[in-house]
Amino acid sequence: MDELKNNTPELSKMKKEPPFNVPENYFGDFSGRLHAKLESETNIYPKEKKGIIRYLKPALGMAASFALIFMLVYWPIKSFLPDYMAETNTVIEQEIEMDTYMPSLERIDENSFFTLMMETITGAEETGEELNDEELLNYLSANVSDYELYMHTEN
């Protein structure tokens, strides 16, 4: 305060009371007016209910948001994505191929099938794809009888 007197002599001469007053009995009535205001505020903004709903509200809100995002974004994208269409087409094409070749396969006889298989093996040999002994033995034991094999070697 001494510092204030030395540095600001004009200011230190002044009265320190604020130059204001209030209406008569203002502070006596204030409490009642405040009470009225509080009552009106409480009616406008009722106190929040305590309980489990209050704590679950954020989680429920988030869950609802995710569900909404899924419905609005993920589901339409999944429905109209080209991959999905491609997958469907492949299945359809495979079904068509099977429908086309199955009757032809059923009509072919055993000898023609054997000849076709031998041609395939010979073709494979020509292209350099050699069968080893074990594979050949497995193939013959599965598809050719002993008698056929004997007749084939005699000829």
Binding site: F20, S31, L34, K37, L38, E41
Partner: protein, 182 residues
């Protein structure tokens, strides 16, 4: 924190004693908070509005008062924030530049029927209105209320050093203004 305030806070936090304790709080602090706000806003009607809002806010937030500061500091902080928020809303409404609220406050002061100061006091108020907002706050709290810097630091959330410097600059500016206008 003294024993009376501790009892008051305990009563405020219990639902069955809250009403009575709040009435006691209002009676104890209404005048001090009124004059604090009045020095910021200068006009009685505005001060009355802000004081009521301050107590409404205190009522609504009393459960959140964590007792890290004294009750007095907490109440002053709410009152100061409410007064500044009120001034900012006035600035926005009248499209005033953010730092220029002094004209509005001067009009408030001269038109207020509850101003009873002499010419010298009016001059002092005009000088205070020339100060930037933060300096004006610090000057009022220190010069009129003689609030300790440590207490002020908690209310305004500013360091003691910064507050001392702020008051020093403010006092010099006020002194110069008074000398010039003589």
């Amino acid at each position: 924190m003294d024993e009376t305030n501790r009892d008051l806070i305990t009563s405020l936090k219990q639902e069955n004693t809250r009403d009575r304790a709040f009435n006691q709080l209002v009676k104890t602090y209404q005048e001090r908070l009124y004059w604090h706000i009045r020095k910021i806003l200068l006009n009685h009607d505005d001060t009355d509005d802000v004081l009521q809002n301050t107590f409404v806010k205190i009522w609504k937030n009393i459960e959140n008062f964590r007792e890290e500061s004294s009750l007095y500091t907490w109440l002053y902080r709410i009152a100061t924030n409410e007064a500044i928020t009120f001034l900012n809303s006035r600035k926005r409404r009248s499209l005033l530049p953010l730092n220029d609220v002094s004209d509005y406050l001067m009009e408030n002061l001269t038109s207020d029927p509850y101003f009873n100061g002499d010419e010298l006091q009016l001059k002092l108020q005009k000088a205070i209105l020339q100060l930037p907002e933060k300096q004006r706050l610090v000057f009022n709290m220190r010069y009129f209320d003689e609030i300790k810097y440590e207490e002020m630091s908690k209310i305004l959330d500013t360091s003691v050093g910064a507050l001392k410097a702020s008051y020093h600059h403010a006092a010099k500016k006020v002194e110069e203004y008074i000398k010039k206008s003589d």
